[in-house]
Symmetry: C2
Subunit: 256 residues, 2 copies
Amino acid sequence: MATGRNHRPATRSRGIPEATVARLPLYLRALTALSERSVPTVSSEELASAAGVNSAKLRKDFSYLGSYGTRGVGYDVEYLVYQISRELGLTQDWPVVIVGIGNLGAALANYGGFASRGFRVAALIDADPSMTGKQVAGIPVQHVDDLESIVHTNGVSIGVITTPGGAAQQVCERLVGAGVTSILNFAPTVLQVPEGVDVRKVDLSIELQILAFHEQRKAAEDLSRRDEEGPRGVAVPEGGRGEQGGDGDIPAVMPA
Amino acid sequence: MATGRNHRPATRSRGIPEATVARLPLYLRALTALSERSVPTVSSEELASAAGVNSAKLRKDFSYLGSYGTRGVGYDVEYLVYQISRELGLTQDWPVVIVGIGNLGAALANYGGFASRGFRVAALIDADPSMTGKQVAGIPVQHVDDLESIVHTNGVSIGVITTPGGAAQQVCERLVGAGVTSILNFAPTVLQVPEGVDVRKVDLSIELQILAFHEQRKAAEDLSRRDEEGPRGVAVPEGGRGEQGGDGDIPAVMPA
DNA sequence: GCACCTTTGTGCACGCGTTCACAAAGGCAT
DNA sequence: ATGCCTTTGTGAACGCGTGCACAAAGGTGC
């Protein structure tokens, strides 16, 4: 399948925008669902709706991959699944190690979505000697002393860190030293990594805090709206900190 | 931007950019660490380094909150901790429900970082009757039939969904119907929610796929570079995209 | 073959976020 | 006080991502 294998000067990099890359897995999931229902083709409008994005954005995203659609018809589901999988590098096998087999590490090891698409948990690693040898999700836990040899013999390039925050940086350095160049970090720590190593972080606490911010804003908005409509009303106790009225919210600059 | 610009309280709450809000928890964590070490003040350069961001960005972020720094000195750690906490709404208590007590749900229930900052697991909910009554992380699991009353009696406005993908949308609708307006979704599903409801998603599989993309790109680059220097190997698979600095800083989730 | 209808692919403009660079502001030494 | 040194706060430029709107392209029916 010659997919536009143009050997043009690579100077003008046909690099796919990061934002697009982040959406490709979303499209892929929606397409896989369609594929399982044996839907042959799909329009940008339908697919965009399923993926929760705007159709123009989806078409632009696909345009970075090439012209895989047929005007007047839409996209061939199977073909698109293949193209996106290939672009994301999912046609090959990615051995992954999970370091830190606590509650979260064990949950990830058991997570089905892991193996579903090219990813394979090659090893579980923990620093606790009493964990060594135990089976989690059918995989034996190995001691962190052997981290380097495990990474090396399995050809691991992607590591998942689910250790406590204090251990994360050290584990990260050992992973990188052993040859890992992509890290998915669940520990509440900002990892310092050398050039060329990709880090993505998943932080529960941060997500909740962002939600709390919006939640607070919504509450404040409701209150002030109610206040506008009926300037009367019982003073809401509010734990001592008045946050909503319109005073003391934006610091520094006090509106008259 | 001179002072005396934002005088209109109407849309004032739109003040803080979303990107800034997403970084505030990061700053807060770094500041908390400094606070525990009794560091009195910190410069934008130091704090930025600790949070893994650029110092100019940090200063601009803080400028949205107000002028809390002292020129020539830096920022007062304790004061900044308080201001950011207040801005994020962490000075109040946020009851949270977790729906779907499988491996992941249980891991989250046990996660310490939860309670650390204003968040409290008010209830665990699962659809499996055999789970009902069991204790997870010291909290009894309740049946999903009682979802609405649980949300109502606890005044829950934030829900965490850790169900299988197939159940997520339905659970989401029930949560929203019961009054939840912020949802943290771990299920591999695009949730459809009405206006006014915030959804943030955390998707393991997507994160890994994004890493795989970059990993593949790095591998292709290495190959083509080696190929340039000494074209003696086998044919390069092609697919090596252009250069693009690794960022490793894109948050794991996207705002809804 | 031709006209019509549908849907893609994209040029363009706009807005947000990032980064640079520097003037203003505060502290400190003299 | 005064001048120097440090660091903040922010105007301005830039780049990326998004969404609109439409021409081009392919299929279909007559």
